[in-house]
């Protein structure tokens, strides 16, 4: 009962009023267009014919709008419109929920990682690389956002839109992989500084703290170099390096495809066309050299 009452003064009645008004508006517009077409005019015969065909077309278009408005004001259509309007907040809520869960996941993993900061630093050891920290961006993107770029495209511009989506998708994937890669490169700095703190503490205890900043720098650079060398041998680093290079190549490939599409409308050769030409020249030259050597 309450719901009905709410509908009577709420969204449903507003929509019904709006569709009725639309119906009346398009109806009167179509009527006035028709009457203006019937008025006696001064223009010559050809002009008259042209203007009457325009007015006919306009009249038909307005009639179409009136029909559409009338159809929309029918109770069944209003109901369906209301239903889809009701679904909108649901869709938005779903989208927001997805974004929020990603954010919470990120926060959770960041908190987990932050908890490990106080743990003791194992110099020159990268066995326990915090994978959460490195995979979190890529995981979130892959699970939550990537699907939107894979929605099938339709119509005349389908292929172009697909390529644009692929470029956006590969760019995002490259960014997330690159972020992971850079974060891994920061690790040796963090660890070397922690090792330096320990070493300086020990030296201070012994009263052997270096007076020369150069000595401290030399110590640090050696420790840093050692950490880099150890990190670079780890399977995690090798994996992310390979992934970053492949992701960059994927993005470059997708971006080039979009640029080539744009170039098609300009009077210039695309890279693919030039590559084809270069291959033909290369093969021809090779043939000629073989023939020359046979002489």
């Amino acid at each position: 009962m309450g719901e009905k009452k709410e509908n009577a003064f709420g969204f449903e009645s507003m929509v019904a009023t709006w569709t009725d008004a639309m119906n009346a508006f398009w109806g009167s517009l179509a009527g006035s267009a028709a009457s203006s077409a019937e008025k006696p005019g001064t223009p010559p015969e050809t002009e008259k014919q042209a203007s009457s065909s325009h007015l006919d077309a306009m009249g038909k278009a307005l009639k179409n709008w009136q029909t559409l408005a009338a159809a929309m004001s029918a109770p069944a259509s209003v109901g369906s419109l209301l239903k889809s309007a009701g679904a909108m907040p649901e869709l938005l809520a779903q989208f927001a929920q997805s974004a929020m869960s990603s954010f919470l996941e990120l926060q959770r993993k960041a908190a987990e990682s932050a908890g490990r900061i106080g743990a003791s630093v194992e110099a020159y050891r990268f066995e326990n690389i915090d994978e959460n920290l490195f995979h979190v961006w890529t995981d979130i993107y892959e699970k939550e956002f990537r699907q939107f770029f894979r929605i099938p495209q339709l119509g005349l511009t389908r292929t172009y839109q697909e390529k644009l989506n692929a470029a956006a998708d590969t760019f995002n994937r490259f960014q997330s992989t690159y972020t992971e890669f850079l974060r891994m490169l920061v690790l040796p700095f963090n660890r070397s500084l922690a090792v330096m703190q320990d070493q300086m503490g020990e030296l201070a205890e012994k009263g052997e703290l270096p007076e020369d900043s150069q000595v401290v720098y030399r110590m640090w650079i050696k420790v840093l170099e050692g950490h880099f060398m150890t990190l670079f041998q780890t399977p995690e680093y090798v994996e992310i390096l390979g992934k970053t290079i492949t992701a960059l190549a994927d993005y470059s490939h997708a971006k080039d495809a979009v640029v080539e599409d744009m170039l098609h409308s300009l009077p210039v050769a695309t890279r693919t066309e030039l590559d084809e030409l270069a291959r033909e020249v290369y093969e021809l030259k090779k043939c000629i050299r073989k023939l020359e050597k046979r002489k």
Partner: protein
């Protein structure tokens, strides 16, 4: 509670001294950086005697006459440029070879562009290199030339010598990777997991900037931090600045690498390790190292982080030659060529080794193919041993005792 003994007064006075020194250095440095700096590379005169596409052949003539019967062809890598061998007067491998009286030729691979992306190992080895060798043979009237390869150029030279042994008299390989199945060098570790098809299909050639970034990542602490800290500390020293700029110019003067060469080199060598196993095919021909029967001198660096000793030292055990020698120098990949100390040892050692094997060749038509020398019957009786170098100094060579490293020699028993 532990009481730390921190000499705060000393540290503070040291900081004050440092600040004053930095101020003075900055003043002098501005004078140096604003002055005329000589950072030119490759100043030794040469003639270009052959040109094919982007590839040129440089010919260096010794001022005091040629004292070798066989000319020497130097093949540099496709990565970076051959100008490293002629950094500056007084610090130049080229100069040392010319002083010894070697008739010297050097390949300049030029700068590959997009149109060169389809050129593979076959085009470089059986194409450009073979044509260059023929040009030298024709112009000098010798049947065979001496071949010296550097890094990837060494790998090319090994492949070439195995495919065309009749044209090569002596082979010298320096910091040359031939056995790729090792985890000692980071490149060997990283390249195993590279999706090379994706990279080549996308970019065509491998961009020099990407390659250089990769090389910097091999040791960021030294190459991206410490190196420039060293520069800041010495930028009031004109000679240091000039030398630094020269090296900097050379390091970043990098041509792109033709895509197909990169694809084949990574797939067949770094990922497949086919060369040392005699499984590599170039231009439809299998590369059999047993066909490499000419004398072989193999030099590499003990502290080479790009091409570690493990990648170089196996070659002499796999070739068909009965006359091989390994020299492991106590230096790195570039140090062999640019450090003054090793230049004094390395180039004269090669000159001496070549002199010892420089018999007068029969003058033959260069186009006429000479049959490859059959493998020595005494091959199975070869002795491979490490000897104190001083005792084995060949006639005409600088005493080997000056070579800081290990020498392993294989000779007929």
């Amino acid at each position: 509670m532990t009481q730390f003994k921190i000499p705060v007064d000393l540290i503070v006075s040291k900081l004050a001294e440092d600040a004053e020194r930095v101020q003075n250095r900055a003043k002098k440095a501005s004078e140096v950086l604003l002055s005329d700096l000589d950072a030119k590379l490759a100043q030794t005169p040469y003639d270009i005697v052959y040109r094919e596409d982007r590839v040129t052949l440089k010919h260096y003539r010794p001022e005091n006459g040629i004292r070798y019967k066989t000319p020497l062809l130097v093949v540099y890598a496709l990565i970076n440029r051959e100008t490293m061998l002629d950094l500056q007067p007084g610090r130049s491998v080229v100069e040392r070879f010319l002083e010894a009286g070697i008739d010297l030729y050097m390949i300049d691979w030029g700068y590959p562009t997009r149109k060169d992306r389809f050129q593979g190992l076959d085009d470089h080895i059986n194409g450009y290199m073979d044509n260059v060798v023929d040009v030298i043979r024709k112009s000098t009237g010798v049947a065979q030339v001496n071949l010296m390869g550097i890094c990837m150029g060494g790998t090319f030279s090994v492949i070439y010598s195995a495919l065309h042994p009749e044209k090569i008299k002596n082979l010298v390989t320096t910091v040359t990777p031939t056995a790729f199945d090792t985890r000692k060098g980071l490149l060997h570790v990283w390249m195993k997991h590279l999706d090379v098809d994706r990279v080549v299909d996308t970019y065509g050639n491998l961009s020099a900037d990407i390659m250089n970034f990769g090389f910097l990542l091999l040791n960021p602490a030294r190459l991206m931090i410490d190196k420039y800290v060293g520069f800041m500390e010495n930028m009031d020293n004109k000679t240091f600045v000039e030398n630094f700029l020269r090296m900097e110019t050379w390091i970043f003067d990098s041509p792109d690498l033709p895509g197909e060469v990169f694809r084949q080199f990574i797939k067949d060598c770094y990922q497949g390790n086919k060369l040392i196993r005699n499984q590599l095919e170039v231009g439809g021909q299998r590369v059999d190292l047993k066909k490499l029967t000419m004398p072989l001198l193999n030099i590499y660096g003990r502290f080479d982080h790009l091409v570690p000793p493990e990648a170089c030292e196996q070659l002499t055990r796999h070739v068909g030659s009965a006359d091989t020698e390994d020299i492991c120098l106590d230096t790195g990949h570039i140090g062999i060529y640019v450090s003054s100390k090793y230049q004094r040892e390395f180039a004269p050692k090669i000159a001496g080794w070549l002199k010892e094997r420089d018999q007068i060749p029969k003058k033959q038509s260069p186009r006429k193919k000479t049959k490859a020398a059959p493998p020595s019957a005494g091959l199975k009786k070869t002795v491979q041993k490490t000897k104190p170098v001083k005792k084995n100094t060949p006639a005409g060579a600088k005493p080997e005792s000056s070579v800081s490293g290990t020498v392993t020699r294989k000779t007929n028993g």
